[in-house]
């Protein structure tokens, strides 16, 4: 029977597949929020007891990823009056097939990069690589700025999952670093998106192409 950690990792993979295949931005944002809340449980699962530090990290992650980021993203969608379609460069079916291929590659790569700690499920490195690949794919192949931010959040989720499970013994600095990173980056990006709304009348990163060569 899979442990709870492995179940969360499988859930991460399934939500990534949904993110690749769906055309509705609202669903994308909700899926990333869902991922964030699921990952927020990870710091609690490693330790034998419930340490207050782990609880604090967990709570802060759940709050940020599950509530604040989606709120910011939905706000910026509203103020831009955009159509709620993802409008990707690569079609949805192709994205899904890419997802399956990326999963296969991640499993192969993950098998070659072993995690020395026996308490860590062997599924961790492949799922982390897979989530990072899906995040990068989302940034590169999506047109709207909000979709690119969602892709970035997925990338961060993959890194967070890896750090939260593999580095249980290591310092808290690492987890704090990631929270700081995501928070400030998305906050600043959110501001940039708001400004993009005001400057242009779209948040179409594809049309941000006047600087060339």
């Amino acid at each position: 029977m899979l442990s709870l950690v492995e179940l969360i990792l499988v859930g991460l993979v399934l939500t990534n597949l949904v993110l690749l295949g769906t055309s509705r931005i609202g669903l994308c944002i909700r899926m990333v929020a869902f991922q964030g809340v699921g990952l927020a449980l990870l710091p609690l699962l490693g330790h034998e007891g419930l340490e207050p530090e782990a609880l604090a990290i967990s709570g802060a992650t759940a709050l940020l990823k599950g509530w604040i980021f989606p709120l910011l993203l939905f706000r910026s969608l509203e103020s831009a009056h955009v159509r709620a379609e993802v409008e990707p460069y690569v079609g949805y079916s192709n994205s899904l097939l890419f997802g399956v291929a990326a999963l296969a590659v991640s499993v192969w790569l993950g098998g070659r990069v072993p995690v020395p700690d026996p308490g860590v499920p062997s599924l961790l490195t492949p799922v982390a690589f897979f989530t990072i690949l899906v995040g990068l794919f989302g940034i590169v192949t999506r047109r709207k700025a909000v979709s690119q931010v969602v892709g970035y959040l997925v990338l961060e989720n993959g890194i967070f999952a890896f750090g939260a499970v593999a580095l249980r013994k290591a310092q808290l600095l690492v987890e704090m670093g990631i929270l700081l990173d995501v928070f400030v980056a998305v906050f600043v990006m959110g501001i940039a998106i708001f400004r993009i709304n005001r400057e242009f009348d779209h948040i179409d990163a594809d049309r941000l192409a006047s600087l060339k060569e």
Partner: protein, 314 residues
């Protein structure tokens, strides 16, 4: 295996096959009754399909002059494929009439062959409607077949067996406890494949009367009489056989004693009818997907099977 056991085994398999032959039209009746109940209607009689088949077998058929012998071959060969699949499929953990290693691929191949022959017969009429239906059907078949094959490979990897009978025989409660999520993912993928193969909502609407929205119905538009009877019966057989695999996957009631075998068969039949009820519920609660979205759904099914396989290979 002693001769007596072999005889018992063969007799049991024949009985299960006979049950399948007799009961499969009832599945369509169950689905229609469920849909009617959801719509607040009384609905057709449960045995309506039998009456339809009887009526169609008595009728004559008109053949267009543009068609050739392929047009007549299509329905008959399709029925033959369905019957061969029925001979292969295990029910409730007990093997079918024939079973050998690698019969998974024969099973999937029989479906493909039947579909190919139906599509060829449709193209043979020279009608553009039927050609359109054939092209759509073939387009959806690509990811659906991939999902089916990957699902079977995942199942065989999970159980270590390479024949349908072996796989379904090994899927007991212990196996579910060992690799539950993998089996759940495969079951979900196979359910979507079932919907695609039997042309149910959300892939295809069997009740539509507008040719431009039909996929399977429009392929068989020009068949009449016994040919149409073969096609309808073939559809019911498809539902029974794939449903048997799925029911065997989902209901892990296995055992070796005689009572267990009987119970297993009963559970199998109950499972298939339960699946029919579920299909009826799905049909009543959803609309058919836009044609552009159907391949995405089926690629999603492929992704689920692929994921199950990858989870197993780690």
């Amino acid at each position: 295996m002693s001769a007596a056991a072999f005889d018992m085994g063969a007799l049991g398999a024949l009985l299960r096959m006979a049950a399948g032959l007799a009961l499969c039209p009832l599945l369509l009746g169950v689905i229609n009754r469920v849909k009617a109940k959801f719509a607040g209607r009384q609905g057709q009689p449960l045995l309506q399909t039998y009456y339809e088949l009887a009526k169609l077998l008595r009728k004559g058929a008109v053949f267009s002059t543009t068609t050739s012998w392929i047009f007549g071959l299509g329905p008959a060969a399709g029925l033959a494929c369905g019957l061969c699949a029925l001979a292969l499929v295990p029910l409730g953990g007990q093997p079918g009439l024939f079973s050998f290693e690698g019969d998974l691929f024969l099973f999937a191949g029989l479906y493909s062959l039947g579909r190919f022959l139906t599509a060829t017969a449709a193209l043979d009429t020279g009608s553009s409607f039927e050609g359109m239906g054939a092209s759509r059907e073939m387009q959806f078949a690509v990811p659906a077949e991939l999902a089916l094959i990957l699902g079977f490979v995942a199942l065989s990897q999970a159980t270590g067996e390479y024949s349908l009978a072996g796989i379904l025989g090994r899927l007991d409660l212990a196996r579910w406890q060992a690799c539950g999520p993998v089996l759940a993912l495969t079951a979900a993928a196979l359910f979507l494949v079932l919907l695609a193969e039997t042309c149910r909502i959300p892939v295809d609407d069997p009740n539509t009367h507008l040719e431009l929205t039909m996929i399977h119905e429009v392929m068989v538009l020009d068949h009449g009489g016994p040919d149409l009877a073969f096609i309808v019966y073939g559809q019911a057989l498809k539902m029974w056989t794939l449903g048997a695999v799925l029911a065997g996957l989902v209901i892990p009631a296995r055992g070796d004693g005689a009572a267990d075998v009987l119970l297993g068969a009963v559970w199998g039949v109950v499972g298939i009818f339960g699946l029919a009820v579920v299909i009826g519920i799905v049909e009543s609660s959803m609309a058919r997907l836009r044609l552009l979205l159907v391949p995405r759904l089926l690629v999603g099914a492929t992704a689920l099977s692929g994921l199950a396989l990858i989870l197993l290979l780690r």
